[in-house]
């Protein structure tokens, strides 16, 4: 489409009609998932194969439009995924050799190839419709609705699916009414804190000032979390539209999108989207004839975890070292460059157009009373289906782990689920029926965080888990305040001691004391929440700590200093596989007779246990 500036709301509607008209006779667009996991599984080759086949068959006219790399479609461990515009069909594990058949049957005739769908491990039945695949069926895609269904680099795709109509509607509303709407919708900050977004906007607007800023926090730093990245990569215009609406509501003319530099594709897609929006006049002066000016700059973060904290982020945009400041005077009063600033997370901004379009009542239909709407989670760890999921608030952890996640692989037992990133907490099996929302998670000693979910099975040592997260936090603490800088490393010393058999009476209590100092004494939210991994594991798995300290035993068989490997004489057949694979050559025995491990030389690498076909290697 020709890109000339659109200067009125009517112009935008006409522009949309023209796109839809031009798309009418196209073949259905093929979406090959271009998310990182799918790329790793060969989706680029699938994409190339489609392109080649389209060319070979003379379908040239729709090659460029017909095949698009898209954002993440979610079901990462089944990739490469292929979907089709406006069709309820998804294919999994697609290889280049499947492409000709897909084009013949699905693209041209709309027929379904069942064997490329999802096969239920229990019923052995195939399914290709989203609704019949449990991983998708239990989800509620609102924010992610268009992710994977449009080309993020093409603004026309977004507009043709109703994009920027929320902005048009917002311009017909009074800015204060928009704030009322956001407030009544009950939208809470998706970055983790859960602060009511409407209240934040209202407080910012109430300050008398010449300049206000709005910021999008795209500094997703939790290890294993990729919710915000997927939105920025897959549907950047939704974020931009949300930001324009927010800026119009609070009276800001300049926005910043702070994106970590480790997300090059997110930066690229956001950049393209901003330029395209500017090209159409959706950013810049007098947007859609509203007399309202607004533009967005991208600020790239250097990757420090602490820069996801709002005041550190603002310092970083200003060119200073990312360190938090005391927020007694809040950012809505004195934020970026000491001016009133509204900072919201990527997912929060992407929720804004949904509220304006669907209205307050429509938005509140999903989710719980205190936490309306949906939440995007990245599901990882010891769970069958890993990937990006969007669920209504209020869904239980059990549904998330077992219905969507498909339970624990290899028939192992569930042990805990860790939510909220490194400063989140571990939730035990007894609380699996807990409804996921901001308040219930924090009551359980964890937090919503930005939405990382890590599932752990019986082979996970909870002391080791606490040690892992504290190690991360020691490395990422900015070091400004005493409790975080000094307290965390002392906690790590104690945890390391416990896992290495040097734990002593009083260690648990000392850990709890340090947690208390951090919780009350640290300067920023990173520090005050850093105690969560330790406190929650002590709270729910105290017996494991005690086994390490009193009996010098690691019940999960993880902590190397506390375990020994032994061969069960009754089970060992003397096949000699373990002896051959042992890197220390410390397993001996005659062929066809039980073998033994020389514990003095064993480095506890676990190779023998992995290779033994008879489960004869025991960890004690």
């Amino acid at each position: 489409m020709e890109h000339t500036k659109i200067s009125t709301i009517e112009g935008l509607n006409k522009y949309r009609e023209k796109i839809l008209e031009s798309k009418k006779n196209e073949l259905p667009t093929v979406f090959v998932c271009g998310g990182t996991p799918c790329l790793a599984k060969g989706s680029r080759q699938v994409f190339e194969a489609f392109k080649k086949e389209f060319g070979a068959q003379g379908l040239t006219g729709s090659v460029e439009l017909g095949i698009k790399t898209t954002g993440c479609q979610g079901f990462c461990n089944k990739g490469p995924l292929v979907a089709f515009a406006d069709k309820d069909i998804v294919y999994m594990g697609v290889k280049p050799e499947h492409v000709p058949e897909i084009i013949e049957k699905t693209v041209k005739k709309g027929e379904v190839i069942e064997s490329l769908g999802y096969r239920d491990p229990q019923t052995k039945k195939w399914a290709t419709e989203y609704s019949r695949i449990p991983f998708y069926g239990h989800q509620k895609k609102l924010v992610l609705k268009d992710v994977g269904q449009l080309d993020p680099a093409k603004i026309d795709d977004y507009i043709s699916r109703g994009g920027y109509s929320a902005l048009a509607k917002a311009f017909s509303m009074n800015p204060d009414t928009i704030i009322d709407n956001i407030e009544q919708s009950g939208l809470r900050g998706r970055g983790g804190g859960g602060f009511p977004t409407g209240r934040k906007w209202r407080s910012c607007k109430a300050i008398k000032t010449d300049v206000r800023y709005v910021i999008c926090n795209g500094d997703e730093g939790d290890p294993g979390a990729f919710m915000d990245r997927s939105i920025m990569e897959g549907n950047p215009h939704a974020i931009i539209e949300g930001m324009i609406i927010g800026a119009y509501a609070v009276g800001s003319n300049q926005g910043y999108a702070y994106i970590r530099d480790e997300y090059p594709l997110a930066i690229e897609n956001m950049k393209t989207a901003i330029e395209d929006a500017r090209g159409l006049g959706l950013l810049g002066k007098n947007i859609l004839g509203s007399n309202f000016d607004f533009d967005i700059k991208i600020s790239r973060g250097g990757g420090a975890f602490v820069c996801g904290e709002s005041s550190a982020l603002m310092r970083s945009i200003g060119g200073n070292v990312g360190e938090p400041r005391a927020k007694y005077i809040r950012s809505v009063e004195k934020g970026l460059y000491d001016k009133p600033t509204v900072l919201n997370n990527v997912e929060t901004w992407a929720n804004v157009p949904l509220i304006i379009t669907g209205g307050v009542q429509g938005y509140r239909k999903v989710g719980t009373k205190g936490s309306p709407g949906t939440k995007v989670f990245s599901l990882a760890g010891k769970v069958v289906n890993t990937g990006l999921v969007e669920v209504p608030m209020g869904i239980t952890l059990r549904e998330l782990v077992f219905d969507i996640g498909g339970g624990i692989p290899k028939g192992k037992k569930f042990k805990a689920v860790q939510t909220g990133g490194p400063s989140g907490g571990c939730i035990p099996e007894s609380l699996l029926d807990l409804q996921i929302d901001f308040d219930s998670l924090s009551d359980a000693g964890s937090m919503m965080g930005s939405g990382g979910i890590i599932v752990m099975d019986e082979d996970t040592c909870m002391v080791d888990v606490a040690k892992y997260f504290i190690t991360f936090l020691v490395g990422e603490s900015c070091g400004k305040c005493t409790p975080c800088r000094e307290g965390l490393r002392r906690m790590l010393d104690i945890l390391t001691g416990i896992t290495e058999g040097r734990g002593k009476q009083g260690d648990i209590e000392l850990l709890e004391e340090l947690c208390d100092v951090l919780k009350w004494g640290a300067l920023c939210a990173l520090g005050t929440s850093a105690a969560n991994p330790v406190l929650s594991t002590i709270r729910y798995f105290r017996d494991e700590y005690e086994a390490h300290i009193k009996e010098k035993r690691c019940p999960a068989g993880v902590c190397k200093e506390l375990i020994t490997y032994r061969i069960d004489e009754d089970k060992c057949t003397g096949c000699t596989v373990c002896a051959k694979k042992c890197p220390q050559k410390c397993i001996s025995g005659e062929k066809k007779k039980p073998h033994t491990i020389d514990a003095s030389k064993c480095i506890k690498c676990g190779v023998c246990k992995t290779v033994c076909p008879f489960d004869a290697v025991i960890v004690e």
């Binding site: 400041r325 900015c478 070091g479 400004k480 005493t482 409790p483 800088r485 208390d516 004494g521 300067l523």
Partner: protein
């Protein structure tokens, strides 16, 4: 300047809106410890956390740093509760393990009833001298002197003030404001005859034309002359002989 009333330890006192709690407490004879606070610095970093007090406002209680908590209407401050004492003691113990040689910290520890920290004391390659990484030296250099010769290097437990790449700084004027401001006396500054050594650089000192005492680095005179336009002749005599 809007004057308001607030309550501290049960006593109603007057303050200027947004003035920090620590200032007003000290003016009213209420002792709150604090290492990284210096009234010359505009916005205290609140990094040492020793001045934590209970702030009660709008039905909520939180622990806040008195050195930068702004006084507003309806505020009540409690400086001596069991929570304040408990957390402060925890912080002092952490500092004592970091800088076991610091007399200032040892004194605070003794006051709080700590004999020995329950953690392994930092020594060897973890030795921090007496530095508690509070950052006051950096703020003073930037805000009061206007030079910014030092900054924080590294992060987390390794965070430490220093010149860029730990090399002698070209912009340092050798004034020693950082060393004077340091609450734990952790910045080595050696005055030896007509030279001063600080941050790995040697400065030539200017001698008083009357008493002959070396009293100010030449580089500092250059800086003052350049930034204020003061006549160089003024520095011929030391403050005692002027």
């Amino acid at each position: 300047m809007e004057k308001i009333k607030f309550v501290i330890d049960g006593k109603e006192v007057e303050a200027i809106r947004d003035q920090c709690v620590l200032d007003v407490a000290r003016q009213n004879g209420i002792y709150i410890p604090g290492l990284c606070y210096n009234p010359e610095v505009k916005f205290s970093g609140g990094s040492c956390r020793l001045c934590l007090v209970e702030a009660h406002q709008a039905g909520r209680m939180s622990l806040v740093t008195a050195c930068n908590y702004p006084i507003r209407e309806g505020l009540e401050i409690k400086t001596d509760t069991s929570l304040v004492k408990r957390i402060r003691k925890g912080i002092i113990e952490l500092l004592l393990a970091r800088v076991p040689d610091s007399d200032v910290i040892k004194e605070l520890a003794a006051e709080a009833g700590i004999d020995e920290p329950r953690f392994v004391k930092d020594e060897g390659e973890n030795y921090h001298s007496k530095c508690i990484a509070c950052g006051l030296c950096i703020q003073v250099c930037e805000e009061v002197v206007g030079v910014s010769a030092i900054a924080m290097l590294n992060r987390g437990p390794d965070k430490t003030p220093g010149t860029p790449y730990k090399k002698p700084s070209e912009v340092c004027i050798g004034c020693g404001a950082c060393a004077y401001a340091c609450p734990t006396d952790a910045i080595p500054m050696e005055d030896n005859g007509d030279t001063r050594k600080i941050w790995g650089r040697e400065f030539k000192m200017h001698l008083c034309s009357v008493c002959g005492k070396p009293y100010i680095p030449e580089a500092q005179i250059d800086w003052i002359v350049k930034t204020t336009g003061k006549d160089r002749v003024f520095f011929d005599k030391c403050p005692d002989c002027r």
